[in-house]
């Protein structure tokens, strides 16, 4: 697993690996919103939690279809399937690699971008915490979706349609946690629910993803 993770990370930072694309996308979305909404800081501060979470979610979505597609195209996926590594571990590792190249940078960049959106000061800690808790679920659900659509040409759009509805709970609780923190309320409940979604998807989806891969490799 470590080997595969290391390889995927190495591939991601090499030319054409797409590392940083999601981050750049997130950056641009968060920069565009103030231009669109206008400079009234009251409104910006109010919508900031939602905008940051939607931005992070869409940025995550960008690179999902590459999770298995590149390996499928060059034949590595079949060879990986015959390797000693179980497909469940493969799915989990791929999701982990996706999170490390997408979710983690997004989480780290979010506070800086929150500044642009005039997010109220008390919410910064919660913002980082909610993204750190929530983005692994985004990667895991995405890996499952990618496993479902792996053999399809132009599977990217279908993948988005499949995965976005599954992202709704994560988005609701994530944005809600930040909003509550911004308004000075306790954010523990949505954060716990967010952690619940992440832990649940980490427990179940590797198996679902592996089953989907087995079907698609036939």
């Amino acid at each position: 697993m470590i080997r595969l993770l290391a390889r995927d990370l190495r591939l991601a930072v090499r030319a054409g690996g797409g590392f940083g694309l999601a981050l750049a996308f997130f950056l641009i979305v968060c920069v565009l919103i103030p231009f669109g909404v206008g400079p009234s800081s009251g409104i910006l501060g109010q919508i900031a939690p939602g905008v940051l979470w939607v931005g992070a979610l869409l940025a995550c979505l960008l690179s999902l279809d590459r999770i298995f597609a590149t390996d499928h195209e060059d034949g590595s996926l079949e060879l990986l399937a015959t390797a000693p590594l179980p497909l469940e571990a493969l799915t989990l590792t791929k999701a982990a690699a996706h999170w490390l190249t997408t979710g983690l940078p997004l989480t780290l960049a979010a506070p800086i971008l929150a500044l642009l959106l005039n997010l109220p000061m008390p919410a910064y800690g919660t913002l980082i915490l909610s993204l750190a808790l929530g983005t692994p679920a985004l990667s895991m659900i995405g890996a499952f979706g990618a496993a479902l659509t792996v053999g399809l040409k132009r599977g990217g759009l279908l993948l988005s349609l499949l995965v976005l509805p599954l992202y709704i709970p994560t988005l609701i609780f994530g944005a809600d946690a930040v909003r509550r923190a911004a308004e000075g309320q306790g954010a523990t409940t949505p954060l716990m629910l967010l952690a619940l979604i992440t832990l649940g998807s980490l427990a179940i989806l590797p198996f679902a993803g592996a089953a989907a891969l087995r079907m698609n490799l036939r």
Binding site: L4, R10, D74, L79, L80, P84
Partner: protein, 208 residues
């Protein structure tokens, strides 16, 4: 031969796209044995190899082998163009829990290309890298699907030598190919196992 076989197939039937393409395949391969699969395009060689490798379930019958004994090699080599030759091999070696890639590099004369980006290799060189991967898997049964595509004469010789050495070490190989490798191996024409019509129709995919 009284050694237990490394791979044995028992009245195996394989399907592709819901159609049975091979039926009643029974064979045993023991250590040191190689079997060449022949047959025209579409006769089911790839399907048979994929079934043996465990990528698809048999439609009927049984594949008796240790699933961790098979090294499968397909038409695509699974090479990452942005990694170097050595990095590609080291990854597979690590995944299969073997340590050294030197023997594999030497067997396919890849030492000079070691630090080249795999994406910059020629088709034949990529194929050699793909075949070198077999050596680092350390697995006894090789299931190879048209391994010599895009190889030149001397590379085919390298491959035949590698297979020969593998057989000497008690390995086995199942090779689908159209050319003569000069190996001391039995040949199996898979058209023999083409199912008759009645059998194909009696089988109902819906019950799977």
């Amino acid at each position: 031969m009284n050694q237990s076989p490394l791979l044995s197939l028992d009245t195996l039937a394989c399907s592709r796209g819901g159609l049975i393409v091979l039926a009643g395949v029974s064979l045993n391969i023991g250590p040191g044995q190689a079997l060449i699969l022949r047959g025209p395009n579409g006769s089911g060689k790839t399907t048979l190899l994929r079934t043996i490798a465990g990528l698809q379930p048999p439609a009927q019958g049984r594949v008796a082998t240790n699933p961790d004994a098979i090294a499968y090699s397909a038409h695509a080599d699974g090479i990452k163009g942005t990694l170097s030759v050595a990095e590609n091999l080291t990854f597979w070696a690590g995944l299969f829990g073997t340590s050294s890639i030197d023997a594999a590099l030497a067997a396919f004369e890849l030492n000079d290309l070691k630090d080249r980006r795999a994406g910059a290799l020629s088709a034949g060189q990529k194929r050699r890298l793909g075949l070198a991967r077999l050596l680092v898997t350390g697995r006894p049964v090789w299931a190879l699907d048209e391994p010599t595509v895009s190889l030149d004469q001397s590379a085919v010789q390298m491959f035949a030598t590698a297979v020969g050495a593998h057989l000497k070490q008690g390995g086995a190989a199942l090779i689908a190919t159209h050319i003569d490798l000069g190996l001391d191996a039995e040949t199996l024409d898979v058209t023999r196992f083409k199912p008759d019509r009645a059998q194909t129709e009696a089988f109902d995919e819906a019950f799977l």
